[in-house]
């Protein structure tokens, strides 16, 4: 392993000497980070499996006579209270958890980057106003925020969806609100980070050059500052993703998130935890969803760490 690391270290050195592009250098460094590569492969495999499973098998949603069956050849993860195959349920839960996490993180990305970049670029009084707002929101417990957002807008949005598309609309409304709520509580740190970066970049010479060439504020922000913030944002995005997934599972655990018969990993764990009693322990109902959640979050964390090592300039010092 040491030899392999040495060799790839050489590859990196060669890349530096021959003047490879920064992206190629980043890729070479990422490839050296074994946990990150394993995590990426695992994530991709899980994603493909979760997406393809409904095509391969329809067992997931089927009720059957065998309630609380222990794991066996026909039900790899056992069955739940309605006799549904837990393996399919866990994969469906993974799919939803991943989607909620992705969209929630993207919402937080959009709000956070816009907010932080505006504050950092305008500076002065505006900066003060915007960032004090962030400080204030930090000291409100986020759970209150989420509960209020979800309950306030649910009926409004449901009615609107019914009018626009017909049908019930309740489920779609709930999902949309979940995205909005999760995004709304997780953008604060992103805004702070982006603002700090923009504040530092604003004083750099290339921005000054762009300004002296007569470029407008918006063009400077879009073309020169935001692309430079990109690396940090990507890293932080991958670290927000597990946080959002965790928060969603917490909400589902409270009964505010995904509603049955749909399942997320959090609601599956909550179902399992409900079955705990001193007489019989249906361990598979909690071990498998929890294990899947832990594996998913760990992979995302490893990926985030790997990306940070790649994009963080301080990592240069280490090797």
């Amino acid at each position: 392993m040491a030899e392999a690391a040495h060799q790839s270290g050489q590859a990196l050195g060669q890349a530096l000497e021959t003047g490879e592009s920064p992206n190629r250098r980043a890729w070479l460094r990422f490839r050296d980070n074994r946990p990150a590569v394993v995590a990426t492969v695992f994530l991709l495999a899980l994603l493909v499996l979760a997406l393809a499973w409904p095509l391969l098998s329809s067992q997931g949603d089927m009720h059957s006579e065998s309630q609380f069956a222990a794991p066996s050849g026909s039900h790899w993860f056992g069955t739940d209270v309605h006799g549904r195959d837990l393996f399919g349920r866990v994969l469906a839960g993974t799919r939803i958890s991943l989607m909620v996490g992705l969209v929630g993180a993207l919402v937080s990305l959009v709000i956070g980057v816009l907010w932080g970049a505006t504050a950092g670029f305008l500076g002065g009084r505006w900066d003060n106003l915007l960032m004090r707002t962030v400080d204030m929101l930090y000291s409100l417990p986020s759970i209150i925020f989420v509960i209020v957002i979800i309950t306030t807008l649910e009926e409004v949005l449901q009615g609107w969806l019914q009018a626009a598309f017909g049908g019930d609309g309740g489920e779609t409304a709930r999902m949309l609100l979940l995205y909005a709520g999760l995004g709304a509580v997780s953008w604060l740190t992103m805004a702070r980070i982006v603002r700090g970066q923009v504040l530092a970049l604003r004083e750099r010479q290339f921005v000054e050059a762009a300004r002296s060439l007569g470029l407008g504020t918006r063009a400077i922000l879009w073309r020169h500052i935001l692309p430079n913030v990109f690396g940090v944002v990507i890293v932080y995005l991958t670290l927000t993703l597990p946080a959002v997934i965790l928060y969603e599972s917490f909400l589902s655990y409270l009964g505010l998130g995904i509603q049955p018969p749909r399942a997320s990993l959090g609601s599956l764990i909550a179902e399992g935890a409900k079955q705990i009693n001193p007489i019989r322990v249906y361990w598979w109902m909690i071990v498998f969803p929890a294990g899947c959640l832990a594996a998913l979050l760990m992979a995302l964390n490893f990926l985030g760490d790997g990306l940070r090592d790649v994009f963080d300039p301080k990592a240069d010092k280490e090797s």
């Binding site: 930090y138 000291s139 832990a294 964390n301």
Partner: protein
Amino acid sequence: MLVPLVLVISFLAFCLVRVAPGGPFDKERAPASPDIERNLKAKYHLDEPLWQQYLRFVGIGYEKRDGEWRAFEGGLVRGDFGPSLKYRNHSVNDIIAQGLPVSLSLGMLSFCFALGFGIPVGVWTAVRRGRWQDHVGSFFSILAVCIPAFVLGPVLIVLLGIKWPVFPVGLWGGPWHVILPAIALGTYFAGKVSRLTREGMSQTLQSDFITTARAKGVSERSIILRHALREGLLPVVTYSGPLLADLLVGSFVVENLFQIPGIGVFLVNSSINRDYTMVVGLVILYSVMLLTLNLVVDAVYGLLDKRVKYG
């Protein structure tokens, strides 16, 4: 700075819970007739305009009582959060006074657990960076961050409460009752603290003054404990403020799982029940704690890092 900030936060929370549809009297056992509901609302002054309600809550202003204009009684300025709208006959102060000591002791213990495990593991992995000790330590730190309390709690209950009954499965009593909830609550934060420590320490260990100390022949032990730790712990110190505030006001999940009579349960329940006064009271409690602890963090920062100056 503290007082205006708390006022603004309380006003935000005050408006926020009222924006949500529904009211505190929706879930009465028998559906309240319009008359009864109007009387209830009048009793708790919910029929007044919002700004007036807020002034009454803060306790600044006058009202007509017994035919005369008199100052409000109670209110925030007199340290009174008002009556709970859901748990009648209990004031918010009563409920906080009952639950807070429990949540405080559980939170304190979890905090000690998080730091007591997190910092040593973090230092150890930073010092042994790249070797197997680092890989094992870092793996467990990440694992701890990926297991939420509502997974760890049931697992601990099943294993150590039911299968091998070492600890009681719930309730609040002697010191034995505290251990499982403290572990369930603290593990996540222990992992987080350990990751922060590792990051801070490994950056510090690469800095020039450490190289100088090494060159001067200072023992490795003294380098780590006396020189590097001081600076390497700064990220942990920063994180400790919000962490402690979070832990001290209690956790819904852990208090719910272990049936602990703290105030963490109330924060979630009161916002679902639209118990307006309760929500605002708890939000103020949390924000005062957070802001105070952040001040403490700043002070500790100054002690650890002499370069920090307060202008």
